[in-house]
């Protein structure tokens, strides 16, 4: 039995509250696309914006909460900053809810410049949206910097990055989770800095009327968004590195190969975002090709080191399967499958056929929902169970996993098929030529509901442990 950290439990509560609401918004969107709820179609794009920003934000903070919890075992992050992170996030969420529900703001989660200034929503709602992102961005930047400070205080950054392994030294031993978290947080600083520049450019136009260069802002926006989403995924993987060995009864240690792998990831992740701009033909050609090379290259350390390492860890191990270990394992599958969908999309000649079709949400939902979400759920369950030490019912835990997996993959398959059929993403309704998109949407809504049922069972399974853990939290 190990008491849980109270802030980790608060973040779990926030996640458990917001996630089902955001799932319902997703089901609503697929229902509208299928031709249902026609009278509410004007809410489609505001809800799409809320669903997008909400999901990215929730799973970023949930992954950060896991990282902060892991770091709390080795280092001393500031309690004050932990409180600030939670408070700032809640303020940002309130502003976001206000601009969407009161102002019908619908600029999309990556609010591509200059759309926030040129939509049908009132100007104040665009300002509220920018303020929301400012509060969230500033809060998360401070949080990231504090976690890096805590790491640097214990290990020095070069040690945390495992550079001594590269030099052939094995001491001090660095937990691989620390190495991955350090890489992710450094990438996070770069992403959030890019986000800050984007916001400053928006404010500049707001106050002075000086327009910005659309291509430059697009580069900054995708650098911010792509990096943020990827690092959230890496933080989930760090949780697997930290916890999965406990269930496998084998160590998963850092070494030279792991250090090379994750330092390479740090470099590659900063250049892979160019694949978001393939269809902007004015972008210098060299950057387009760098985008494809970096995207392909990123698959090698992920597959050869991390996925291979995880498989080796589990292969013929005396595995203790429970909801945590099962979800970690399933989460790594989701990462690999979604990653494959992403690699295909990052092929320039394929991107011509796939860009901004439903293939894009197909692959990012795969690695976010069946990847990151499963990894974080695994970690959340693990923390709750460690603190609550309640008896586990294998049958129920298998049912939770089966429902979530069946719901998720059925839902993804409709996205992949729609993408292959060139059905565009972000269409509230489909024209007659693409009416088959509606049929895929209807089936997707059913599968998403199955996932939601699976999640509610997960919540019942974890929630009771979470409640008990709250009584003994440190």
């Amino acid at each position: 039995m190990r008491p849980a950290n109270s802030y980790t439990l608060y973040w779990m509560g926030v996640t458990f509250l917001l996630f089902p609401i955001l799932i319902l918004l997703g089901i609503y969107m697929r229902t509208v696309q299928a031709g249902g709820l026609a009278g509410t179609v004007t809410w489609f794009y505001p809800m799409m914006t809320l669903h997008g920003v909400g999901m990215v934000g929730v799973w970023y903070v949930a992954a950060m909460a896991c990282a902060a919890d892991i770091l709390g075992r080795y280092t001393e992050p500031s309690p004050a900053v932990r409180g600030l992170a939670l408070g700032g996030t809640l303020v940002g969420v309130l502003l976001l809810l206000a601009c969407v529900f009161l102002g019908k703001f619908a600029g999309g989660w990556y609010f591509l410049y200059p759309l926030p200034f040129k939509g049908e929503w009132p100007a104040w709602s665009a300002v509220a949206f920018l303020l929301s992102l400012t509060v969230l961005g500033a809060t998360w930047l401070v949080w990231t910097l504090d976690l890096l400070r805590a790491i640097a205080k214990k290990y020095t950054l070069t040690q945390a990055l495992g550079w001594h392994y590269l030099a052939g030294r094995d001491e001090p031993a660095i937990p691989p989770s620390i190495m991955i978290i350090t890489v992710s947080l450094i990438a996070g600083v770069a992403a959030l800095a890019a986000g800050v520049i984007v916001l400053v450019l928006f404010y500049q136009e707001l106050f002075t009327g000086a327009a910005s260069d659309a291509l430059m802002v697009k580069n900054l926006t995708f650098f911010f968004g792509h990096t943020l989403v990827n690092l959230a995924m890496y933080l989930g993987v760090a949780a697997a590195y930290e916890v999965l060995p406990q269930y496998a009864g084998r160590p998963w240690k850092a070494n030279k190969i792991v250090a090379i792998s994750w330092n390479t990831v740090l470099l590659i992740v900063l250049f892979a975002y160019f694949h978001h701009l393939y269809m902007d033909f004015v972008q210098p050609g060299t950057l387009q090709y760098i985008g494809q090379i970096a995207s392909y290259a990123s698959a090698i350390p992920a597959a050869v080191v991390t996925i291979f390492g995880a498989l080796l860890l589990v292969y013929r191990a005396r595995m203790r399967w429970n909801l945590a270990s099962l979800l970690f394992f399933l989460g790594l599958i989701g990462w690999a499958v979604g990653g494959m969908g992403a690699v295909i999309d990052s092929t320039i000649s394929a991107n011509v056929r796939l860009h901004n079709t439903l293939w894009v949400p197909a692959h990012f939902h795969t690695y976010m929902l069946a990847g990151l979400v499963f990894l974080v759920f695994a970690y959340f369950y693990h923390c709750s169970q460690e603190a609550a030490a309640e008896p586990e019912r294998a049958g129920r835990q298998k049912l939770v996993s089966v429902l979530m997996v069946a719901g998720a993959y059925g839902f993804f398959l409709m996205f992949y098929l729609s993408g292959a059929y060139s059905v565009p993403r972000r269409f509230a309704t489909y024209p007659a030529e693409l009416a088959h998109g509606g049929a895929f949407s209807a089936i997707a809504a059913v599968f998403a509901t199955v996932f939601l049922v699976g999640f509610l069972l997960y919540l019942a399974e974890t929630g009771s442990r979470w409640y008990k853990a709250m009584q003994t939290a440190s």
Partner: protein
């Protein structure tokens, strides 16, 4: 004598002065219509994102029209009966306040009267076209889906094999596993390099040495594509530069679309007669993307906006014929 000539001239010209002024107003209205209204409305061409405006002045009072053109947002907020009905009728896409002055609204009205004044009935909103059946997947899309499903199946099978292996636990030979990892690294690297070499030449970027047979300028705006034989670089060009409402392209010719945007980011996605994507580029304010295509199959091609651009995004489409 000179005074007499002047008086006579005035007598001849004065009766024509109001008509000339009206024509001038209508001409200014035509330019305004192209710049501000044609992205959603036609005059006699049928309903688009918004209603067909032919005969609008005979269906509504002038006072109502002038107010709706200048402050539609206020009228909708005040729940004006007609305004609310129009919103309902047109997929709840709300007409934005375009910042037009009363004098500009009168010029627009003069243009609408001049172009479609004689016919009272506007084309009603077109009933939604009957949904078309799902087409067969074309080869490139089929290959993409096939590769993905095949590799995903391998991933799942490998994980399943490893997962089920835990039923018979035993120690693994780590040294042997690391040897396998080396082979895996070499194989993965070779596959990556080979795929890069095979796929990169298929990139869609224009080759400067190839001369296009036909250049078409495309200006995207919320929520319309404007085709022209001349560059349109700002909204002010609309109404002054001739545009094409119908575009025919020769089969197998190398056509270069020079695509820009007059407001926000849009996507210019070319769908072939099989209703699947053949080519695309982004339409970005301040930039011109050159998309080159050679279309072999005769038929009707659709263009859909593939970058979210606000409420009318899903209705933003155009098309052309290949003959």
């Amino acid at each position: 004598m000179r005074y007499l000539a002047a008086v006579l001239l005035l007598c001849v010209l004065v009766p024509f002065a109001p008509a000339r002024a009206e024509n001038e107003a209508a001409d200014r209205g035509r330019i305004l219509f192209e710049q501000k209204c044609a992205s959603c409305h036609t005059i006699g061409g049928g309903a688009r994102v918004g209603p067909d405006l032919q005969g609008a002045h005979q269906r509504r009072s002038e006072e109502w029209l002038l107010r709706f053109v200048t402050e539609p947002d206020r009228m909708i907020a005040e729940k004006d009966e007609i305004a609310v009905r129009l919103v309902e009728q047109f997929n709840r896409i709300v007409m934005p306040n375009l910042g037009l002055q009363a004098s500009e609204a009168r010029e627009l009205l003069a243009h609408i009267k001049l172009v479609g004044g004689t016919q009272a009935a506007a084309a009603p909103p077109q009933p939604a076209a009957a949904p078309l059946p799902r087409p067969d997947l074309i080869a490139p899309q089929s290959i993409v889906l096939g590769v993905f499903l095949f590799v995903s199946a391998i991933i799942v099978l490998v994980f399943a094999w490893v997962g089920f292996s835990t039923r018979q636990p035993e120690e693994v030979n780590v040294k042997k596993a690391y040897g396998f990892r080396k082979a895996l690294f070499a194989t993965a690297s070779a596959v990556v390099v080979a795929t890069l070499v095979m796929t990169m030449p298929g990139a869609p970027y224009a080759v400067a040495s190839l001369k296009a047979d036909r250049i078409v300028y495309v200006a995207a705006r919320q929520f319309d594509f404007v085709f022209s034989d001349e560059p349109i670089t700002s909204a002010a060009d609309l109404g002054r530069i001739p545009t094409m409402r119908h575009l025919d392209l020769p089969a197998n010719a190398l056509v270069e679309f020079r695509v820009t945007s007059l407001d926000v980011n849009h996507g210019f996605g070319v769908y072939g007669p099989e209703r699947q994507l053949l080519a695309q580029t982004q339409a970005m304010p301040g930039y011109v993307n050159r998309l080159r295509v050679s279309l072999a199959q005769p038929g009707h091609y659709k263009v859909f906006c593939l970058e979210y651009c606000a409420a009318g995004h899903h209705a933003m489409q155009s098309g052309f014929d290949v003959k």
